[in-house]
Symmetry: C2
Subunit: 643 residues, 2 copies
């Protein structure tokens, strides 16, 4: 039989373990729900306020424009005006380029920078985020929808499906936001996004070779191998005129970025460079009759603002699977990008933005967008960075951009029909080169090999298989890692740091000394079904190893002290495992003692009668108390009692 503890005497002392009755299920459940869905406690300063103030605060919470507009000043507007004009000059070339990437008419790209920014400025909570279309999502939309409909044979149907996909994205984002499922976006890790963006950027860069080389025939596949094959196959179509213009533009754009890097104050050089490329491209194409020399132009850009597109939404069951797929994937990616970017700029300014509120704003802007001939928009990194650097102060800069776009659509749109495709390709390519963050990948390699693998899986699968496969595999791998974290929680043997009452991992602190006849183990968290088998094996292994070691020193293991201080939760299988461990060890004449179970763990131990079974004298508040308790019973009770 295992030795009996006199814990009631030695272990109690002045500071007792709290064995109070567990919280009621409702209390615990409410607290869990709050932590899961409202970790930021958005209504924390509502307590004790009168109803009109509460109503006003609620309105301001859900519609942030009511918060910032009343405090808006003319001085702030001057900043926002400048920033708005700057991002508008970026929005025009990017809008046309990315629309080309999605195989839709270029004017849709311009429309998409008119309506959505207005919606965002009302509902969005980030002061720096600039709304616009993004390359990755544009390509995903095209790659997914083209499996169902060929945009060259049936452009109208294809465009209808693009609007439908946008609506689905918007609805998905709105739902995620309303149900506060921001937690889902948390599962797109930085490593996944880095790899995914790098892979997509590589693909898009290669695809732009079509425009740079002025090729007429190409592939609709989006993997690296198909694209390179298509270039090789069509190499006879390569036009030197187009290629040389393209290279000049590209060099100019990259140079403008270089200038910005060297002198951050000159950020506007790289911000207006795409506009310069487009304008000079138009002028050149108009004067030189570029089309006759193998330099294709955009063509056909009508005047006028967004026509309604509600009647164009297409829910035909024959096609619907494609817009659903495209809509859901792009919704997640757009959210991940938009929220991450909004958050990182907010942190620079020591502000906080609410991911769930951002989702609602993105959802609304895409829903309204899908009714007004816009396609998917989010907060692209490049545009947001320009907005921030240009000194934007509030969401008003989006309104300014929107007005600029409206004026462009009313008066200037036809001028842009002369934009050479090669200019667009150069703009896209230059933007994409900045997204291949090999330095970040190297940093991952240096600091965390598993994160690096997740990143590389995303990169190579996107580049060589397809974007959705790459994204899913990488997320799956990140989830496996998350599950491994819980399936194999670290445990360690603790030793006493000499001359203190501190107990630390003996591997980390080799100076820590063993305790005679006792093994102190610190368990990882949480203990539950997926790791309880492991924890049992691991503890028995610790005991076996310790027994062998102590045997050689003429000592023995009589107590195992389990420090549960780091265990945040435990489930029934976990408790059963503790029972089994106790039984196995008692058969070896070893007594198990628990230290510092935390609130949730203690509740579960009480409710399952575990505490009752082992007796409250076997639970201690600190390791020191537990060791004192063990020593006390060892010295006092020479004869071993039975249980």
């Amino acid at each position: 039989m295992a030795p009996v503890l006199a814990g009631g005497v030695a272990g109690g002392g002045d500071h007792k373990v709290n064995f109070a009755a567990p919280r009621s299920f409702t209390t615990a459940f409410k607290s869990d729900l709050k932590e899961t869905f409202f970790p930021d406690d958005p209504f924390h300063d509502f307590k004790g306020k009168s109803f009109p103030i509460k109503a006003k605060k609620t309105l301001q919470y859900f519609v942030p424009i009511f918060e910032w507009l009343p405090k808006y000043t003319r001085k702030l507007f001057m900043y926002d005006l400048l920033a708005g004009i700057t991002i508008a000059s970026l929005a025009i070339p990017q809008g046309i380029s990315y629309a080309k990437l999605a195989d839709i008419p270029p004017v849709i790209g311009l429309y998409s920078s008119f309506v959505p920014p207005l919606i965002y400025s009302v509902f969005g909570s980030s002061k720096h985020l600039a709304v616009g279309t993004v390359a990755a999502s544009s390509l995903i939309i095209a790659a997914t929808l083209e499996k169902k409909v060929d945009p060259s044979t049936d452009p109208q149907l294809y465009l209808d499906l693009v609007f439908t996909a946008t609506l689905i994205s918007g609805v998905a984002q709105l739902i995620l936001g309303v149900f506060r499922l921001g937690i889902l976006v948390d599962f797109l890790s930085h490593s996944t996004i880095t790899g995914f963006m790098g892979g997509t950027a590589t693909l898009i860069c290669l695809q732009q070779l079509k425009g740079i080389f002025g090729l007429k025939h190409f592939t609709t596949h989006t993997d690296v191998v198909s694209v390179i094959q298509a270039i090789i196959k069509n190499r006879k179509e390569i036009r030197w005129e187009s290629t040389s213009v393209g290279v000049i533009f590209l060099v100019f754009l990259q140079f403008s970025k270089f200038v910005k890097q060297k002198k951050p104050k000159l950020f506007w050089v790289s911000a207006i460079a795409p506009m310069v490329v487009v304008v000079s491209g138009c002028v050149f194409a108009y004067l030189a009759h570029a089309e006759k020399h193998g330099i294709a132009i955009v063509g056909d850009l009508k005047k006028g603002i967004n026509p309604p597109s509600l009647q164009r939404l297409n829910f035909d069951p024959k096609y619907i699977s494609a817009p659903i797929q495209a809509g859901l994937i792009t919704a997640m990616i757009a959210l991940a990008e938009g929220i991450a970017i909004g958050r990182s700029f907010a942190i620079m300014e020591n502000e906080q933005i609410d991911g769930n509120k951002e989702m609602i704003a993105f959802g609304l802007m895409n829903i309204v967008g899908s009714f007004t001939s816009c396609y998917l928009t989010t907060g692209p990194f490049s545009k947001t960075a320009v907005n921030y650097n240009a000194g934007c102060k509030t969401q008003m800069s989006n309104v300014v951009m929107s007005i600029c776009m409206m004026l462009t659509l009313f008066f200037l749109a036809p001028l842009f029909s002369y934009t050479p495709l090669v200019a667009l390709s150069a703009i896209i390519m230059s933007a994409m080169l900045g997204l291949i963050e090999y330095e970040k990948a190297y940093h991952l390699y240096k600091t965390d090999k598993f994160d690096f693998v997740i990143c590389m899986v995303a990169f190579f699968c996107v580049a060589f298989i397809s974007m959705d496969v790459g994204l899913m595999l990488s997320v799956a791998l990140a989830l496996v890692r998350a599950l491994l974290y819980v399936a194999r929680p670290a445990s360690s043997k603790l030793g006493n740091i000499p001359d203190t009452s501190i107990y630390r991992d003996v591997e980390q602190y080799p100076g820590a000394t063993d305790i005679p006849r006792t093994l102190v183990l610190q368990l990882g968290s949480p203990i539950y079904f997926a790791n309880s088998g492991y924890i049992r094996e691991r503890i028995l292994r610790w005991v076996r190893d310790e027994k062998a070691k102590k045997d050689s020193q003429g000592d023995d293991v009589e107590y195992v002290i389990l420090d549960l201080g780091g265990v945040t939760s435990i489930d029934i299988t976990g408790v059963e495992t503790l029972v089994e461990i106790r039984r196995s060890l008692e058969a070896k004449q070893i007594k198990v003692v628990l230290v510092n179970p935390r609130l949730e763990v203690m509740e579960k131990l009480i409710v399952t009668n575990f505490i009752e079974k082992i007796g409250t004298e076997c639970v201690f508040l600190s390791i020191e108390d537990a060791i004192d308790g063990c020593k006390f019973s060892l010295t006092r009770m020479k004869d071993y009692g039975s249980e």
Copy 2:
């Protein structure tokens, strides 16, 4: 600017934080691999042994019969003989019954208790496990394969596919064992298994009403609604003769269980009861010409042992999807059942069994089984319990059972052809009633609502939709729970237990006192991409709340002490989050201090230069040291320096 810490002086003291260089990647990776795949350290006593001893130990490890057979004694054999005969008497009725459930000839059920137990006795490591067929897997095989082939129109092809599914199960189990993926089985939680077994048992019970009522027509669907509809639809076929015989058998079987429950020593009454039912059924059917009175009999049981079935394995792409699906699902369920049962009996006897080795044994027995006209076998709970109660000492009891089955097949098989189907239905029904563990479900409800939901999802989805859907939904829910555990780790505010240097959760220990100008937070584990956003929000919320509270007391928060003692690991996103938290708090003139980062966490903090950035003087070994450090710098430095 935040106040500067004089940690170098006050925090260092005698016991210093260990900032040693991180372990090399290879060392850390090896240790991770070992914890993931070899948590039980199977080769732990190999060190320093000579080669022949090592070889012998390896052989004994992989083929346990070499370990127990040399030590085998005649006395042990007497125990095993009795146990073997007892389980053989259970194997015959169960074999015939479950084969009927799988819609295959009853003799296959007998074959399956001949070869696989022999294989298990060589490779298996559990002393108590009795090999046999199981009801749930039999039903899954039938339900899955019948979607492709109708066993009544093409019984040969159907049987071929059953053997193929068995081979696939065996190979899957072998692979899982060889690659030590026992970790996968860990994800089938007790709650899932309880719900799944209960649901399957309910289904099977209802299906047996066909046999009890003597119905000729029935449904091939396995959900509760279809089965009840089929009974109502065919109610005119109900035969009173069959029904009354069935009820008598069922009452007898349930009574024998009742006897065992009241007097555990009379376990053999319930163990031989099924055999009594079969034999008395045969005699009754033979004497009363039962078939003429609407009581169908098994019929057609040939003499002779297992014919080879290697040539019958069918990999025709037209059908292969069904055996693959059936094989993989039953492989997992059979492993979960077999390993859990072997383990629970091993714990009773204070022995340990190795899940991965068991998988290899199960895999081999099913592979060989598929070559010798057997279908899926595992370690069923009922048979194993009987084996244990009958006093088995080693795997020899399986050999005895196997020999009994061989004798039966050679000499007695034709006699069993008179077994009335209603007797089989009564045996199955009685066995299944024991698997509906409503008490366990109630226990789950009392102790863990989430586990209860997981259990109920499995139960109701199995009963009303299908077995595989139920299993998968329940596992998915358990995984979501596992991910929630890591997505929302508990954090708590610590207070000082008066007159000690112990710091505990103030919610759990309301007597714990606040520390002036300081907030001590204990973080949950691990910190990584899926929860870093949450942790940031949560910490900022703790700080905000504490500031509000301290403000009302005329105090302020100047230090936030983060206790990382419970954090087992951190990834890059987690480290970046710590950087962000630090930056946000410093903007509010609050200094962040870390306490006791564990080995892995410290390595990551060093490798990402985090420690370098915050300075080693901001890391302490214990909360007390950290508070002393903060106090010291507060009293000494009245003027705040800059960073």
